[in-house]
């Protein structure tokens, strides 16, 4: 059941109404705190390595080989999943599913909570999802679940995720994988 959000009586909260907006260039967001990118990367790795059923939700921008960058990112995301011991559930298009979604094998921005409930996911990375659909999904997830959401965005980031890093290109994913390996070693998981 949805919690009553702070955005008036909508169950779907909007961080901007709490004064939180996307981080400036070179920075990241952890909840409402602007932090250095590396600090955020370490926290993201920690959350993904310690929460139950950690899952990566790759979106169309990394699922389809529409550019060289997309192809490179897709390879790195697979490696990222292995390092984080994470599952992968794709968001391969944004169409509402009729008559119903197969929540075990895909996630959809209309009702992302169903996939999270079905798979009991406690931490998730959204990557390669067009920003608007990511933000719509993140608002629903924030209201309906206790999943720790992470946005790894190629553009300006997402204040509705619990952790967001911005301007993430392939070289940044390589940096994240390196940090995730260090955190994994520190945690001994």
């Amino acid at each position: 059941m949805a919690n009553q959000g702070p955005a008036y009586y909508s169950p779907y909260p909007a961080a901007t109404y709490e004064g939180v907006i996307t981080p400036p260039e070179g920075k990241a967001l952890l909840l409402e705190d602007v932090v250095d990118e590396e600090t955020a990367m370490r926290e993201i790795a920690k959350q993904m390595l310690t929460k139950e059923n950690a899952t990566i939700f790759p979106g169309p921008q990394v699922l389809y080989a529409w550019s060289d960058e997309a192809k490179r990112k897709a390879t790195l995301i697979k490696e990222m999943a292995e390092v984080l011991n994470a599952n992968m559930i794709p968001m391969y298009d944004y169409r509402p599913k009729y008559p119903k979604i197969d929540a075990e094998v895909e996630i959809n921005p209309n009702h992302p909570n169903l996939t999270i409930w079905e798979n009991k996911i406690k931490a998730a990375i959204f990557i390669g999802v067009h920003c608007h659909y990511a933000n719509v999904a993140l608002k629903i997830v924030r209201a309906e679940t206790d999943c720790y959401t992470i946005a790894m965005c190629a553009l300006s980031g997402h204040e509705d995720a619990m952790a967001t890093i911005r301007d993430q290109h392939a070289s940044d994913l390589e940096k994240f994988i390196k940090i995730a390996k260090e955190v994994k070693s520190e945690l001994g998981v």
Binding site: A2, A7, S10, P11, Y12, P13, A14, A15, T16, Y17, I21, T22, P60, Q61, L63, Y64, A65, W66, D93, Y94, R95, P96, Y98, P109, N110, H111, N113, H130, C131, H132, Y133, N135, V136, A137, K139, I140, A143, E144, L155, S156, G157, E159, D160
Partner: protein
């Protein structure tokens, strides 16, 4: 005929050198010209690497639309055509923008209302197009006179709304408008408003940069929704069913979508702050106890009243709002600290700006808010009308 494929890394299709918005607005040398608002809008669009413009004639914006058409003939605008009517125009603007074109249109008065359904559809599909609204009265009775009542209809469409006071501001603002609207985390339509006739048809001195420089082109692949593109996956199928098929949309999606559109407007604040040099501009006495909260040409009249009241030893200040959506609530609250009387002069009968000011200051400020003076239907608002309002308040029964 201009083609996007004629563009290089350094120059657009018409041979203009591509520069940053900061350079174009703040650094490029400028020369003085003497132009109307319509003419200066042509000059602004000439420097914006505009892909598409759709027009339909309605007074007072017809001339501006016509002049943008001349830009197409001169090779500066990629595509230009006339719509069937304003509803058609705004629908065609949506199509152009969804397909990835930097798109501009203009309208006025009843044309705005005829096209009304499109504006929330624009914001709902997160297109970064620009509507230059040259405000005019709303029927009935039929009028072509200056009046900004129509802005009250636009307030809750999910679009950003900026308001220019004069010809110079119209030039600078309409260039900054594309830049802010196209930021990936903003990406909602922007309505740049000027008061029709008072700005569109008034010739003023204006400082313009050279016309051989222009904005970098719009990159639709940095959009928060995928552009319509059948060639490149994820293709157009990703977009339209979600947006248009209401029977597939859950209330959860619709609710979070609405909050997201409004969040996008909120995220424009730091960008607008930078390019407009503040969401509000203040002139007058810092220790004044009387403030005028204004937008558009009412600001100009309030400044005139301020000068006259200074001669009478009455200190006032003018707080001009440059953005209406997002509303600069925090900045306004700070600006009215110590103020005892707030006057909201405006060019419409309903007092939409007064309502906005009251809503934002309610329970946060002890100043007495006076909704006026208020004129409508093309009536002018001389400084004397504002002075009379002030004198009646501070010197009741004795007039100015």
């Amino acid at each position: 005929m201009s083609k996007r494929s004629d563009m290089t890394n350094t120059h657009n299709w018409s041979g203009q050198k591509l520069v940053s918005t900061d350079y174009l607005l703040f650094e490029a040398p400028r020369e003085k010209h003497f132009m109307t608002g319509s003419e200066v809008l042509k000059e602004a669009m000439k420097r914006c690497t505009v892909d598409a413009s759709v027009s339909y004639p309605i007074t007072p914006q017809s001339e501006a639309a016509h002049l943008i058409g001349e830009l197409w003939a001169e090779g500066y605008v990629g595509t230009y055509f006339r719509g069937e009517n304003e509803f058609g125009v705004m629908s065609e603007v949506a199509g152009c923008a969804m397909a990835g074109a930097r798109t501009v249109t203009t309208t006025s008065g009843p044309g705005t209302l005829r096209a009304m359904e499109n504006f929330p559809q624009w914001s709902g599909t997160r297109i970064p197009c620009q509507l230059v609204l040259m405000a005019r009265g709303i029927n009935s009775p039929l009028t072509i006179q200056p009046d900004n009542l129509e802005v009250s209809f636009m307030l809750e469409t999910g679009c950003m709304i900026w308001y220019a006071e004069n010809v110079q501001e119209l030039f600078d603002m309409s260039i900054a408008a594309f830049t802010v609207a196209e930021k990936p985390d903003v990406h909602v339509p922007i309505i740049t408003v000027v008061d029709g006739f008072f700005v569109s048809h008034t010739r003023e001195a204006v400082m313009l940069p050279a016309d051989d420089i222009a904005l970098e082109p719009y990159d639709p692949y940095r959009a928060p929704l995928p552009p319509i593109d059948s060639e490149t996956p994820p293709g157009r199928f990703l977009r339209d069913p979600f947006v248009m098929k209401s029977n597939y949309i859950s209330y959860a999606t619709h609710a979070s979508w609405q909050w997201e559109v409004r969040s996008a407007v909120e995220r424009s604040r730091p960008y607008a702050e930078h390019y407009l040099k503040g969401l509000i501009h203040i002139t007058g006495e810092e220790d004044a106890e009387i403030a005028f909260v204004t937008c558009g040409t009412a600001s100009n009249q309030a400044k005139e009243a301020h000068r006259e009241l200074m001669k009478l030893g009455i200190k006032t200040k003018v707080i001009k709002l440059r953005t209406i959506r997002p509303f600069p609530a925090k900045e306004l609250l700070a600006a009215v600290e110590g103020i005892k009387h707030i006057f909201v002069p405006e060019f419409n009968v309903v007092g939409w700006l007064e309502k906005e000011v009251r809503k934002e200051l309610y329970n946060k400020c002890e100043a007495d808010i006076v909704g006026g003076p208020r004129v409508a239907g093309g009536m002018s608002m001389p400084a004397e009308a504002i002075i009379a309002e002030v004198m009646e308040k501070i010197n009741p029964g004795k007039g100015a």
